[in-house]
């Protein structure tokens, strides 16, 4: 079982190692990356994540316990970045290792859905305003 709230980059390879267990054949990992979405302020360049650490860690541990109880997840990870996360970087990794694939998929889906609803993490958009092309001088007006 592994929970993490970290300002450092998250590694899928490290998360996969956390799920290693010779008795668990179904392993599913989900990674969420920051998208360059268009917004009213311009294109997203980064998200600034903040958390209330103590309640957030309690909530993440509760999620892991639920994944174990509901889906028989023998091992799981629930990691979230905090601070500034740029476009393309991983903001969240969740995953589960179970006996078979169906429970592993269900557990991982449960982890990410419940993480978004119950873990005190908030994000703030950082965006770059779109550059508008300079209007060309109107030759008729110049006359």
């Amino acid at each position: 079982m592994s929970v993490r709230l970290s300002p450092r980059p998250l590694s899928v390879a490290s998360a996969f190692r956390e799920l290693e267990d010779p008795k668990l054949g179904g392993v599913v990992l989900f990674a969420g990356r920051v998208r360059a979405d268009p917004t009213a302020m311009g294109t997203v360049t980064a998200l600034l994540y903040e958390t209330h650490r103590a309640p957030a860690l309690v909530a993440l541990r509760r999620l892991e316990a639920e994944a174990r109880r509901k889906f028989g997840a023998g091992r799981s990870v629930a990691w979230h970045r905090v601070g500034r996360v740029r476009v393309g970087e991983i903001a969240v990794i969740v995953g589960a290792a179970c006996g078979h694939r169906s429970e592993a998929f269900a557990a991982t889906r449960y982890l990410i859905d419940r993480l978004k609803q119950t873990v005190p993490v908030w994000k703030e958009v950082r965006a770059r305003p779109e550059r508008r092309p300079r209007p060309r001088p109107n030759p008729r007006r110049a006359r």
């Binding site: 209330h52 990410i112 005190p120």
Partner: protein, 98 residues
């Protein structure tokens, strides 16, 4: 007037403080990450503090109804929960992780 001639107070004077932590939209609406909220010797309730906060900072009023409250890092089950002097109340707007 009282027997001593003093004007009676409507409520006990503040003798302590509750630390209020604000996150995300609640922080933006109030303009501060934390507040030191004056309370009487018996403290206050979450409901009273939230109402006072809404009066002092009207922009946060529409947000408070959607928030979760944590008293010393533990989820508040009911708004009538008491906050003694020295307590910490964290105000959590809806979450947006992932």
């Amino acid at each position: 007037m009282t027997a001593t001639g003093a004007t009676p107070r409507r409520s006990a004077p503040p003798t302590g403080r509750v630390r209020v932590l604000l996150f995300s939209t609640a922080r933006t609406a109030v303009g501060s990450r934390s507040l030191s909220w004056p309370v009487g010797p018996d403290g206050t309730t979450v409901r009273e503090l939230a109402a006072g906060l809404a009066r002092a900072h009207p922009r946060v009023a529409p947000i408070l109804g959607h928030c979760r409250y944590f008293h010393d890092d533990v989820l508040v089950k009911g708004l009538d929960e008491r906050l003694p002097p020295g307590a910490e109340l964290a105000i959590h707007p809806p979450y947006g992780g992932g």
